[in-house]
């Protein structure tokens, strides 16, 4: 079986993408702006003592979640990771619910049962993550398995990081998906660091190469180009629902903030950070969209106002009732997942 590996899929800036309308391109920017604004506000709240526990963000990685999520159909299912807040926003989770979630409020997506980005609003077709990474790769594989068993034209998508490719579940998932030719897309967010462990201490071979040995293509994509990420996902999804099996997309990006808010990442070389700052995904998409004549400043102001309002709402919402702490360990009836928002114009074509 022939596979492509290590082939960068890169969009040249001067070629307009075939499958994105102007509204799509603006939408991609808007959602990245929203992700950044929500996370920056949450960081402020964290420093003000309003966010218990720890705080994680995906600053500088916004394209990795927004791009692929934009290509997903409403009935597709997503296993979203902690630096992929953009995916939740694309699927329709409201910023106020997210900020409430960080602050452990009753109106948070998990109603205070789990913290930070350990959430998935199942009504939007997202499954919440666990801390053991990359456990969710197997869950996504199982979702894809169900779609195939049912003969449905649906796809599962899961994100995971460079660090978690060292764990057994990564291999079990890739192997299983390859053997059964399942409609699942694996997005490896290679942000160069797993906490303080650089990739050179994590693997001897770039994990994208491993797709081949499990029987399917692996492609490397510029993780900070949201339109490239979209396109890679669009192609991978088409493969999946056509019954051609999984794809591993390695999104090359950089973790711009520490592992969590408590980590100042002094172990990361300053010049590495400087180089990647030049490739900020929001700046790049803003430049494209501005070239189309869109007023990016107004867009930014709208997003800021939206997040301000969301913060007000979240701050005013109550903490959970301690009397509820032991409720809901067991389900009394089956809960069906719902479909999420699918804003890509391609669905109406």
């Amino acid at each position: 079986m022939s596979v492509t590996t290590s082939v960068p899929v890169d969009h040249r800036r001067d070629e307009p993408p075939e499958h994105l309308t102007r509204a799509d391109r603006v939408g991609l920017l808007r959602h990245m702006l929203l992700m950044r604004a929500v996370e920056e506000r949450a960081m402020t709240l964290y420093r003000q003592g309003k966010v218990p526990g720890s705080f994680y963000d995906g600053h500088g990685q916004e394209a990795v979640s927004v791009g692929p999520a934009w290509a997903m159909a409403a009935a597709d299912r997503l296993c979203v990771l902690h630096r992929d807040l953009g995916a939740h926003l694309v699927r329709g989770v409201q910023p106020a619910a997210i900020l409430a979630q960080y602050m452990g409020r009753a109106a948070g997506v998990t109603r205070g049962r789990d913290g930070n980005v350990h959430f998935g609003d199942h009504r939007t077709g997202c499954v919440g993550m666990v801390s053991m990474l990359p456990d969710m790769m197997l869950v996504a594989t199982g979702l894809a398995m169900a779609f195939k068993l049912r003969g449905q034209q649906r796809c599962a998508l899961t994100w995971f990081g460079d660090g978690s490719t060292s764990r057994g579940d990564f291999h079990e998932a890739l192997n299983w998906a390859g053997v059964q030719r399942l409609p699942v897309v694996f997005v490896l967010e290679n942000n160069q660091w797993a906490y303080s462990t650089p990739t050179r201490l994590q693997f001897a071979v770039d994990p994208v190469e491993r797709a081949a040995v499990y029987g399917f293509p692996g492609v490397v994509v510029d993780g900070n180009d949201v339109e490239a990420m979209f396109e890679a996902m669009r192609i991978a999804r088409r493969r999946a629902v056509a019954g051609e099996g999984p794809t591993l997309i390695e999104a090359m990006t950089m973790r711009m903030h520490g592992h969590a808010a408590h980590d100042d990442q002094r172990y990361v070389p300053a010049d590495q950070l400087a180089a990647w700052r030049e490739r900020d995904p929001i700046d790049r998409q803003a430049a494209r969209v501005a070239a189309l004549g869109v007023d990016v400043d107004t867009l930014r102001a709208e997003v800021t106002a939206q997040v301000d309002e969301a913060a007000r709402e979240a701050l005013a919402s109550p903490m959970p009732d301690p009397a509820d702490a032991t409720d809901g360990v067991f389900a009394t009836e089956e809960v069906a997942m719902g479909d999420g928002a699918a804003p890509w114009s391609g669905w109406s074509r």
Binding site: R77, T110, R113, D114, H118, F119, G120, H122, V127, G128, V130, S131, M132, D135, M136, M137, L138, V139, A140, T141, G142, L143, A144, M145, A146, F147, L149, R150, A156, G168, D169, E172, A173, N175, W176, V179, G328, V329, F330, A331, T332, E333, E334, V335, A336, M337
Partner: protein, 321 residues
């Protein structure tokens, strides 16, 4: 009604549910073409096809994890671990993903994980375990352990229908050794205890294969009327039935085939000490396998697993107290 072995009853229950509900499917190693390591799914591939009787790669974490995905997609997977001991390889997915999902995310995970458990046939340290206590301790998982063919079918049916993850401990040493009347067609048993024999001088509380050991040990014990309570369900634990039995009998022997420390019987004993103190006419006695890996050679294995004589002696001593 028909007379089936414990193993046939499990097959019957599984087959009946699969015929009734096309969301139910089986996944595990060697379950399809081979019919299962113990032949529980013999003939299933022909009837239901490869999509519903899935031969998986050798990957317990994969089996449990993908089952979670399939369940949240609306299917009802019944996973088979080839031996209960191997569930350790899927522990993380079961405890952290499946068990905690509903509490955190409000999403139900309807999976059933069948564990062929127990020893007594020189299976050695990796084929003889009773690991239920690990999962009793994990919030969000239900755990059941039938001792009779009728209950094997009935509890499996209820487990498959339960929207929560259920760990189904089927005792492999009972597969062909125990026969009984099993209702035909649909048969569901609630997750409660069952009085295997009435009595009031002493109660032996047990589950799985130990129920049969307890019944044999106390059949003819110096004229004493010994109750045997078959727990059947470990999570949820039928506290009402346990406390009622202690209230009636006042003397209790709790039997575990599992390793003693923190086995199910330890939880039962703690419950009794706290909530039935005033009903006790003697200490709560436990008979359990000591904390050793189950040995392979027959004299060693027999020395550690609780047998009829050990249970009988414990009862005799307590009766005389």
């Amino acid at each position: 009604m028909s007379t089936l072995t414990y193993l046939q009853a499990i097959s019957d229950g599984l087959r009946t549910e699969m015929r009734d509900d096309d969301r139910v499917f089986v996944m595990g190693q060697d379950v399809g073409a081979f019919g299962g390591a113990f032949k529980v799914t013999d003939g299933f591939l022909d009837e239901f096809g490869a999509d519903r009787v899935m031969d998986t790669p050798l990957a317990e974490s994969g089996i449990v994890g993908t089952a979670v995905g399939a369940a949240v997609a609306g299917l009802r997977p019944v996973c088979e671990m080839q031996f209960a001991d191997f569930v350790a390889c899927g522990f993380d997915q079961l405890v952290n993903v499946a068990g905690k999902m509903h509490y955190r995310q409000g999403l139900s995970v309807n999976i059933t994980v069948r564990l062929p458990s127990g020893g007594g046939f020189s299976g050695g340290p990796f084929h003889s375990q009773n690991p239920e206590a690990w999962f009793m301790h994990a919030p969000g998982l239900k755990v059941v352990a039938p001792s009779t063919p009728e209950d094997a079918k009935g509890l499996l049916t209820t487990a498959i229908r339960d929207p929560n993850p259920v760990v189904f401990c089927e005792h492999k040493n009972l597969y062909r050794r125990v026969k009984g009347e099993v209702p035909a067609g649909e048969h569901a048993t609630p997750f409660t205890a069952r009085v295997a024999r009435e009595g009031d001088d002493l109660v032996v509380i047990a589950y799985g294969a130990m129920v049969h050991t307890a019944l044999e040990a106390t059949e003819d014990l110096d004229g004493a009327r010994v109750m045997v309570l078959d727990l059947r369900s470990l999570v949820p634990l039928d506290e009402e039935a346990i406390l009622a039995a202690v209230h009636r009998c006042s003397k209790v022997v709790v039997v575990d085939e599992a390793n003693q420390t923190c086995a199910a019987g330890a939880q039962v004993a703690a419950l009794i000490a706290q909530r039935a103190f005033e009903d006790l006419d003697g200490p709560v006695v436990r008979v359990a396998t000591p904390d050793v890996p189950i040995p392979f050679s027959p004299p060693l294995e027999q020395a550690v697993l609780p047998d009829v004589e050990r249970v009988r002696e414990a009862c005799r001593e307590l009766l005389a107290y």
